[in-house]
Symmetry: none
Subunit: 264 residues, 2 copies
Amino acid sequence: MSAETLLSNERLDAIRERIRTEGRVVAAVLAVEFGVSEDTVRRDLRMLAAEGHCERVYGGAIRPRHAPTTLRRRMSEASEAKQRLGRLAASLTESGQTVFIDAGSTNLEIARHLPRDRGLTVVTNAPSVAEALSDQTGVEIAMVGGRFDPRLGSCLGGQTIEWLERLFPDIAFIGTCGLSLEAGLSAFSAEEAALKRIVAARTRRLVVAVTGEKLGLSAPFQISGTETVSHLVTDDPDHPLCRELAELGASIISETRSGHAASS
Amino acid sequence: MSAETLLSNERLDAIRERIRTEGRVVAAVLAVEFGVSEDTVRRDLRMLAAEGHCERVYGGAIRPRHAPTTLRRRMSEASEAKQRLGRLAASLTESGQTVFIDAGSTNLEIARHLPRDRGLTVVTNAPSVAEALSDQTGVEIAMVGGRFDPRLGSCLGGQTIEWLERLFPDIAFIGTCGLSLEAGLSAFSAEEAALKRIVAARTRRLVVAVTGEKLGLSAPFQISGTETVSHLVTDDPDHPLCRELAELGASIISETRSGHAASS
DNA sequence: CCATATCATGCGCGATATTGCATGTTTTTT
DNA sequence: AAAAAACATGCAATATCGCGCATGATATGG
C-alpha cells in the first residue's frame, strides 16, 4: 500500500476496509498515504458516509455506531402520566394472585407501585422489572429467561415462549405499541407480538395500561383483538376508543380530578 | 490510552464510555488523560449532559441518576478497586466467546467493562447484568430465568439449574463469598453454591474476581475446590493464597502500579 | 483524427468547528 | 468571611470543511 496510483474505486475500497478494521481514519493521514489531496479524501468519506459505511467526524471518520434509542433513554423520561397509570394499574391486583408484567416503561411503573402486602407472585420477562422489585419483601419473583433484546429490554425467543406456554397468570399487564379497533393490540415486531399473544391467551384478566397517545394507533403485528382486553388503564378516558372498548365489556380505568380511580 | 491525537468525537465517545462503565468522571483527570484543556472537557461534558448521557456535578460528571448528589458522595458507590477488577477481568474475553456472568457487584463491573467489538455472547442469571449490557450493541445477551432472589439479585432454583446444565460457556465469571485453600470457593447458601458449581464444572475457563478482603475467608457451602479456578483476578496479588493458587496452575491477574495488567 | 462529454482531481476562498486563554461568576471548602 | 476550586462566557487562533471552478485525463462519437 504505497504511493502507487490507485484507481479511485480501489481507494474507496481501501478506505472502507480501513474504517472497518481500524474503526477510525484521519483525513490528513489518508491524503498523504494515497498521494491525493485532502479534498479528495473528504469527498470519498462523504460518499462512504452516504452509503452508511462510516460516520464523518471533524478530522476524519469513524465506524458507524448505531444505538441511539434504548430503553434507558425512554425510562429517564418516565412521565408523571405513566407513574399515575402505574399506580392505578397496580391497584387492580388482589391477594395471592400470580401477576405477569411485561417490559416497557409504563409496565415498569406498575411494578414499582405493586402493593407488597398481598403476597403476590410476579412473573416477568423484563430484567428491569425484576430489578425494580428487588427491594420489596413480600413479593415472590420469577424471571422468564431467553434471548435478551436490549432495545425492548425484555426476553424473547423460543426459550421464553416455551416457558410462558406453561404459565397461567391470574392477571397480566402487557404493553402495546398500538391499540385500535381494527388492529386490536399490536406490536412492532413479530416475535414481540407472539410472546404477548401467548400471555394474553392464558391470563384470566388482561390489563393494558397506555397513555392517550397510543390510542387509535396500530403497529404492523397484531397481538390480539380488542375483545381480549378486560381492563384498559389510560389517562384519556374520553377518547372514542374507550367507549367502544367499554361496549365490548372492558373496564375503562382512569383517574378523576380529585385523584381517585374511576371505572366505567 | 496516552497523549494520542484523538479526534474530538472520539474523545466524546471515550468519555461517554467512561461514564457508562465507571459511573463517574473527573474533569481534571480527563483533561490530562486526553491532553486537552479542562475547558474542552467541560464543553464535552456539557454536550453529553444535553444528550442525557451524563449528569454534571461539581468537579466532573456522573451517570444519569434522578437524585442529585455530590461527586464526593457518588465516589463510594462502587469502589474503585472493584471497577479495576472489572476492567481487568473483562479483558480476558476473546473474540466470539460465550461468556457466563454471575450476579454480584464485582461481576456487574465486569459486565460494564466488557468489550463490545468481539462478538461476545453473554449468558447471565442476574437481571442487573442484562440491564448493564442493554445499551451495548454487538453483544448477544441470554437471560437465564428462574426464581429471582432479591437479596442476591440473581435467579436461582430448579428452573435455573436445569437451564445451566445445558450450557457450556467458554469462560465464566462467578462470584464467591469466600476463597480459601481448605474450603475452596464457597457461598452463603446451598442453592447459590449448587448453581455456581454447575457453571464451574462446565466452563473451559473459570475466572474469579475478588477483592483482597475475601481471600482466606470461607462461607458455609462449598462450590468447588480451588483447583477449578483457572484465573484469579485480584487487587492483592501478594496474598499468600495467590502463590498457592499459582502453584495449582491458576493465573493470578492484577494491576501494576503503572496501570497495566500483570499475570504470574 | 478531432471535437466533445464525462469524470476525478486539486486549488482557492469563505464558512464553520474546535480549542485554549482571559475574564468574571458561582460553588465549595477552610 | 475569605480562599480556592470549578464554572460559564466571550474572543481570537487555528484547523477543518464545503463549494465552485479550473485542469487534465479518459471516454465517446462523428
